[in-house]
Assembly symmetry: C2
Homo-oligomer: 199 residues x 2
């Protein structure tokens, strides 16, 4: 099913036309590789053990990416919001099963491109290849910064960073998910919020 | 100063000739972009606040990459050994100061290529461009797995993983560094080692 311009976020077109520098016909060709998918809240975009076959642009909604420990405990690595890309890049590249769960927190609308279509588009349009390489680099930098944060910052410092980056996060993401992201008990997070809001 | 084949690890030549598939003349051209540097143990390859200007191949030795918290506490993100690449890819790409410290644990011998020389080599030899993209992807996958491990595994599980990957690590890396990497107190690590060795 062909995607129409009116169905995609203006940010998507802006990225690929203004920043990546695709011509109109390159953009139309790139867009033809995508399909639209709806994932209702609480449903999964990916589960551990599955192979990730798509690179997906989050047109509307929010997701959480988490790992599960041996006792079934969930540990949130990332949230994603509109204009982010979601998927497991390693599983996408290698074809091996993912270790990650990606779940819709809100109802999500995705623009998905399959691995094969992405390979085709990268081969036809060198700017897409460059964009994808830059995307992987930036995803790496974000992941490394997150690792450094998890290793070296206190929960309070992580909380302040998160609020600075996403001031509206408590309006969209349940408190227990934010607590898992910050490695803090939900009760402690409530107390921390109260204490910092009184400052 | 020109580097001779006899001065580089056979693994370096093997990677670029057998795996990356460079011709002899491409390999010689690539090698001409490198210089050899010695960094004695305890000296720094990079400090937070400095810009990373080189991508460096660890020919001999080992390093630790860490962040420092506001109170001066050190938190080890990674170790590196022979045949690894070290540096801060984000600082190298963006030219912005690094947040990382990279310190020689043992005397290190590095093969370093500057940012400008790497850019030149990638432009001249597409296989180098592909190799560098694949290197960033793999570095990303490793970082994401490390983040998942730090978030979701117990210190004991992290210890067992580390020993499985690097059985000789206690012969080369001081116990307090391994403890920092595992997020465990040195005394607890000693007890854990004793307990597991008695099993």
């Amino acid at each position: 099913m062909h995607l129409y311009r009116s169905e995609i976020s203006p940010l998507f077109a802006e990225t690929f036309i203004n920043k990546v520098g695709l011509t109109e016909s390159e953009f139309e060709s790139f867009l033809s590789g995508f399909r639209r998918e709806f994932v209702p809240r609480k449903y999964f975009l990916l589960k551990a053990g599955q192979v990730c076959n798509d690179h997906s642009y989050l047109n509307v909604g929010s997701t959480r990416t988490y790992t599960m420990d041996d006792k079934g405990g969930e540990h949130i690595l990332f949230f994603a919001f509109e204009d982010w890309w979601v998927g497991d890049l390693e599983s996408l590249e290698t074809g091996l099963p993912s270790n990650l769960y990606i779940q819709a927190i809100e109802d999500c609308e995705l623009l998905c491109i399959s691995k094969m279509d992405l390979i085709k588009q990268k081969a036809c349009i060198p700017k897409i290849q460059e964009w994808h390489n830059a995307k992987i680099s930036k995803t790496h930098y974000r992941t490394l910064n997150r690792l450094a944060e998890v290793k070296s910052q206190t929960p309070e410092e992580r909380y302040v960073n998160l609020i600075n980056k996403h001031p509206q996060i408590f309006q969209r993401i349940p408190l227990q998910y934010i607590a898992s992201y910050l490695d803090i008990e939900p009760q402690s997070l409530s107390r921390l919020r109260k204490r910092l809001s009184e400052k």
